[in-house]
């Protein structure tokens, strides 16, 4: 099914465990076709060794039993899934992971979260690209529009639902999304991609990979991406077109199986159109204005993994990330450096230990002189952390993983994030029952501590206005969660596997806005100044679960349905007079349902379908919506593939999310595009 290089898993990384040392199994299994050989696998033993060495493996099957045994709710999106989704951006890819709620706000902004608390810039999910955090310490959240790469170069995306603080630290409250790119060893040769259609005005991409010396390989790429306007509420063209460009490289060096070095970097620039209101709270007096979002930056990461005598491994990683982003007209810049050391060692025959230390320094600044002010315009924060995790084999079937992270951040000081996970895996190896208990935190961000934002100015009579203004709070506490999960995973048969997880999460010190005394400022007009400030005065008890099936109906058809349920109970502390902030608003659906089907019509033709259903969001006027994406592709030899993709086919246009604070939501439009990929 996949043309071209398959996801190699010789390059091992830990998944739920730190990503460096071990890999997880590919749940769905990357599969491939476009084979020169159409050997029946049972004939393989008749082949001589040379021929056998030329057989291209087309299905990197479930390999390490690690994933099926992991005591965590993990969903892996393989390269095969990515290619066949027809998605052109990362948010659309994430739709296929059950329990991940992806709601498009406009053509270039999304609300993406796991297990609730969904909003524009959701703050409870940590996102990593090859081990580099792309979660912003400026405002808590992820700028999804800034994340891009040739999607063909992604090896897999691991989506972990539930807290991951013990390994990944702060902000992995409800989940972790880890995007792992392929080793450059697996992207040798050239690839040229061109796509265009009704809303995707153009996508052009070139990538070339080669050898560097005896033990090294590299690839370099450039990509441009241009998306047209979608539709505004009345159906007229919305002003949300955008463009982005990116260039980057990855270099891999492996020597004598002892040392592996990865060096990667990229540069990008985005230009996006948006429409916004003049305040966070909509009023009848709002004026809609056109704003431009510009972002540009780059990153560089280096990692050296060394295998010591005795099989233990060390890894040292450093990265630097910088960008300047002008959102709502206010330029913000980030410069971040992170240094991380990990050691993985087995002790005796029962203990598998990983420990690590890391240091991060980040300088965030906002430009002064704009509508949103700050009590301080720039700050440099240090983050120190250390963790230890021990996976203890209690018996052949039972393993217990205990871990603890201690972290010191500039806002709340020392925080700890412990977890315990137990997995029971009876000897048949087909069933796993697991349970976890963990604690995680979200640390306050720069904006939470020091913002001074006009929420709204409302005319209140002939010569008076009400001014709502929100102030940050430098004394905020970390938001915390105590989370308990139970899961079950099973290979019911060779064709059918099931994965379920349930959870209950107790959140405390969630962010609220508390009113401050109203001040009357005489003058013309008379100002009724109603300030409020951030505080930690809410708690929540959420529970729910996710289930997914993977059914290989025939050798040519894979069908995978998924379902998620979430019940949220948010409440203010009795002492509070305030409001639950938008970050807690019930902007997430109770039920979501999806089904994917990948069909190989012949050795050349693929036909893939995905259907998603999201009901009405609890606090929203946006009705429930379904989304249907179809993809038809044809391979031409081993070198080229042509595909046609239709997205949002059920309706000419529909809202997914609506407005997000001051940002005006637009309607997704039915669209179609064609794509050609040529390898040389």
């Amino acid at each position: 099914m996949v043309t071209g290089p398959i996801a190699s898993n010789t390059h091992r990384r830990i998944s739920f465990l730190p990503h460096r040392f071990r890999a997880v199994a590919l749940m769905a299994g990357a599969t491939v076709a476009g084979l020169a050989q159409t050997n029946n696998p049972s004939d393989l033993t008749q082949m001589n060794l040379e021929d056998l060495m030329n057989v291209k493996v087309t299905s990197v099957s479930k390999r390490e039993q690690k994933l099926s045994r992991t005591a965590a709710a993990i969903f892996v999106i393989s390269q095969e899934d990515i290619r066949r989704s027809g998605a052109t951006n990362i948010p659309d890819l994430l739709r296929m992971a059950p329990g991940v709620n992806v709601e498009r706000i406009n053509a270039n902004a999304w609300a993406i979260s796991i297990r609730g608390f969904n909003q524009h810039y959701s703050n409870k999910v940590l996102v990593l690209i090859d081990g580099r955090s792309v979660y912003s310490p400026i405002f808590s959240g992820v700028s999804w529009d800034q994340l891009d790469m040739p999607l063909e170069d992604i090896e897999r995306i691991e989506v972990i639902r539930g807290p991951g603080g013990t390994i990944w630290g702060a902000n992995a409250v409800n989940g972790v999304i880890s995007i792992l790119t392929k080793s450059s060893k697996d992207t040798q040769g050239g690839m040229l991609t061109a796509a265009g259609g009704s809303q995707l005005r153009g996508l052009g991409q070139i990538r070339y990979g080669g050898k560097a010396g005896r033990d090294g390989t590299f690839r370099a790429f450039a990509k441009i991406f241009d998306v047209g306007n979608s539709a505004s509420a009345d159906g007229s063209p919305a002003d949300d077109s955008w463009q982005r460009g990116r260039a980057g490289f990855r270099f891999d060096w492996e020597h004598a199986n002892r040392d592996a070095v990865v060096l990667e970097g990229d540069l990008f620039a985005n230009e996006e159109n948006q429409t916004s209101r003049n305040g966070n709270i909509p009023t009848p007096f709002d004026i809609l204005s056109h704003t431009e979002l510009d972002a540009a930056g780059g990153s560089m990461l280096a990692r050296w993994t060394h295998t010591l005598a005795g099989g233990s491994q060390t890894s040292v990683q450093a990265y630097y990330d910088t960008y300047r982003r002008t959102d709502f007209g206010i330029p913000a810049t980030l410069r971040l450096f992170d240094l991380d050391f990990q050691h993985h060692v087995t002790a005796g025959d029962r203990h598998d230990i990983v420990w690590g230390l890391s240091y991060r320094v980040g300088r965030s600044s906002f430009a002064p002189g704009y509508a949103i002010r700050f009590s301080s315009y720039s700050r440099t924060d240090n983050l120190f952390s250390g963790f230890l995790q021990d996976e203890i084999r209690l018996s052949d079937a039972v393993s217990l993983t205990v871990g603890w992270k201690l972290e010191h951040n500039a806002y709340t000081g020392l925080e700890n994030e412990p977890s315990a996970r137990i997995a029971w895996n009876p000897s048949s190896g087909r069933h796993t029952v697991w349970a976890t208990a963990s604690r995680a935190i979200r640390q306050p961000a720069f904006a939470d501590a020091s913002v001074d934002s006009p929420l709204s100015i409302i005319p209140a009579g002939p010569d008076a206005v009400v001014v709502l203004r929100l102030f940050g709070n430098p004394h905020l506490k970390a938001e915390t969660v105590r989370d308990f999960e139970i899961g079950y995973r099973s290979e019911l048969s060779k064709r059918l596997s099931v994965d379920t997880a349930t959870f209950i999460s107790f959140y405390r010190d969630l962010l609220t806005t508390e009113p401050l005394p109203t001040v009357v400022i005489p003058g013309s007009p008379l100002q009724l100044f109603m300030p409020s400030k951030f505080d930690n005065n809410a708690r929540a008890t959420n529970y729910g679960g996710e289930a997914s099936l993977n059914w290989k109906a025939t050798a040519r058809v894979r069908i995978s349905p998924g379902y998620s349920y979430l019940h949220a109970n948010l409440r203010l502390e009795p002492s509070s007079n305030g409001n639950i902030t938008t970050s807690l608003a019930k902007d997430f659906p109770q039920h979501t349902f999806q089904i994917h089907s990948l069909m190989n019509l012949s050795s050349k033709w693929d036909f893939d379908q995905a259907l998603y259903y999201t009901p009405r969001l609890p606090n929203s006027s946006i009705p429930g919506h379904a989304r249907l994406d179809l993809r038809l592709s044809r391979r031409i030899g081993e070198v080229a593939e042509i595909s046609v993709v239709g997205q949002n086919l059920l309706r000419p246009r529909s809202f997914e999310y609506g407005d997000a604070n001051a940002l005006v939501g637009t309607q997704t439009v039915r669209s179609i595009y064609g794509k050609i990929t040529w390898r040389f």
Binding site: M1, I6, S8, T10, R12, R22, A23, G29, V32, A33, N39, N40, P41, S42, L44, T45, L49, L52, M53, V55, K56, V57, T58, S59, V60, S61, R63, Q65, K66, K185, Q188, A256, N257, A260, T307, G310, G311, T346, D349, D396, S427, G429, A553, T554, A555, R556, V557, I559, I595, S597, N600, S602, S603, F607, Q609, L611, A626, L649, L650, R651
Partner: protein, 187 residues
């Protein structure tokens, strides 16, 4: 109206999915990593000579043991079914712990199996066993053959020293196709 259309399209979708699920007897387009590896394991046996001490009798089967969970499914059993080599048939056995309680001529160590192997590696020392791994550094740690996956193709490394220690005679043909690696030097 829109609702009805949605229903219609949903139906169509289900029908398409159902159509796709009816078996169409065409050549399967997939080749699994472990199907290929199973074929390699069988082939290795053809190019490796064990000392007589490796077997208790001349009609003893060549036993392929898997340390850790079985990643092959049925493909390894399928690969060796009915095969014979110099009057010996083949057998597959799953091993959950070391030291070995019965004879194995080939010991395949999965990545997960490395955890079981490392503490007990000493017990295998100079035993006439062809150890085959699939973990980077396996040869370096003293394993005889190690699988690698490169650009979707299976490659392998051979540690000649380790083979000699296990009294295995590896044919030059097999060696010529392998990447030769060395054991780490003892401190």
């Amino acid at each position: 109206m829109a609702n009805q259309r949605r229903k219609y399209i949903s139906c169509l979708f289900v029908i398409l999915a159902a159509m796709g699920s009816t078996p169409v007897g065409l050549a399967a387009g997939e080749i699994g990593e472990y199907e290929v590896k199973a074929a390699f394991l069988y082939n290795f046996a053809r190019f490796v000579e064990w000392p007589a001490t490796a077997f208790s009798g001349p009609r003893d089967p060549i036993v392929i043991c898997i340390l850790g969970d079985n990643p092959f499914g049925d493909s390894l059993s399928d690969a060796i079914r009915g095969k014979e080599l110099a009057g010996r048939s083949f057998a597959v056995r799953r091993i959950s712990e070391l030291p070995l309680k019965s004879r194995c001529q080939i010991l395949f160590v999965t990545s997960a199996g490395m955890k079981l192997l490392r503490p007990a590696a000493g017990t295998l020392k100079s035993a006439p066993i062809l150890t085959v791994g699939e973990t980077p550094g396996f040869g370096y740690e003293g394993g005889v053959i190690n699988f690698k996956l490169e650009d979707g193709r299976i490659r392998f490394e051979i540690n000649v020293e380790a083979a000699e220690q296990a009294h295995l005679n590896i044919s030059s043909k097999l060696l010529s196709l392998a990447q030769i690696v060395k054991s780490r030097r003892k401190p």
